[in-house]
């Protein structure tokens, strides 16, 4: 295939890093090679017979390549592969394991917005945006994962008492709270099938209004 003699050490740890379906191929430089190593990348759809070159990642010196567009059909599975070049020598093609965007992506925590009355807090949760191509339609997490739920933690900063809620829709009203008190809320996305969950978000805090009658 007109390839050069391939005795260069191989790229290492070739793998996909995926967050909210933004699927980026990463690797480490071959052992013992300094600067000047260039790479090229190809990918394939599992079960389909051909490897496809990624032109934007040809002769690059960085050690990552965004393949989100090429792996955006999350009903398919993929492989990707990297080859290194240096001073007329090349490495072997080094492949990832089989990548399943649906189960192998990580999900960011939701954002939390709060409003309060004297004795209640209203919580609105917003799931992270899924990656989409510039011309593609936006895709909500709920469309991809119908079994999506939110785990919500509510902490009374004064008494340190904490409640946990598990909800399917993205709004929650927590009643029977103490007026004039600080409450902090943190939330996590939990998908039951396939089993996936985000970390908990940072804490968002608000005070309930003071009791006017007191």
């Amino acid at each position: 295939s007109g390839e050069l003699y391939c005795s260069l050490p191989n790229p290492r740890n070739v793998h996909f890093e995926s967050v909210n379906m933004k699927n980026v191929l990463h690797w480490s430089a071959p052992e013992g090679t300094g600067d000047g190593v260039l790479y090229k990348v190809k990918y394939s759809v599992y079960g389909v017979g051909k490897w496809i070159r990624k032109p934007e990642c040809r002769n690059i010196n960085r050690t990552w390549c965004d393949l989100s567009n090429e792996t955006s059909d999350y009903e398919e599975q993929y492989y990707a592969s990297v080859k290194a070049f240096l001073s007329g020598m090349c490495s072997d093609w080094m492949e990832t394991t089989r990548f399943n965007p649906l189960t192998d992506t990580k999900i960011d925590p939701p954002t939390v917005s709060l409003s309060s009355t004297e004795r209640s807090i209203s919580i609105i949760l917003t799931a992270p945006e899924m990656w989409r191509s510039p011309e593609g339609e936006s895709l909500s997490l709920l469309q991809v994962y119908p079994g999506l739920q939110y785990n919500v933690s509510v902490l009374n900063k004064k008494t340190k008492k904490r409640w946990f809620f598990s909800i399917s829709n993205n709004t929650l009203v927590v009643p029977s709270l103490e007026p004039g008190t600080a409450y902090c809320v943190s939330a996590q996305i939990h998908v039951t099938t396939p089993l996936l969950h985000s970390g908990f978000s940072k804490e968002y805090c608000t005070d309930t209004l003071k009791d006017k009658t007191a």
Partner: protein
Amino acid sequence: SVTEIRSGFNAIKANIQARDPIKTLSILSYPHSLHKFKSSDRCCITHHLFNFYVDKVFKHCKTEDSYVNRKISSIANSFLSVRRKLGQCHEQNQCMCGQESTEKLDQILVNYEGLNVTSAAIKSLGELDILLDWMEKS
């Protein structure tokens, strides 16, 4: 349950898929993805695919790794219990197979028999997430 199958599979997915060097052929997805099938055919396809795995696949999935073998037999047992439930649903609902589903199930068997039995079984096992993703999709 299906969740047990999923977690059992996740534990050995990388190991099993690494034993399948044939990237250019899929047992379940060639030539068309399972996701192409109408929800009305789900009962029939699920029923027959569970039979396929229980009757044809698991018995040929022996490895030299006892941990992997234990996981495979636990997945197989979960399949048996889910299949029992599917059988009752199948009897009650008489979920008939449309022509497209029948052709798809026949194609899966052709894909399977196109490889030697051990390679076909390991490849099918490595594609369990394709089946689970399709089943769990609403």
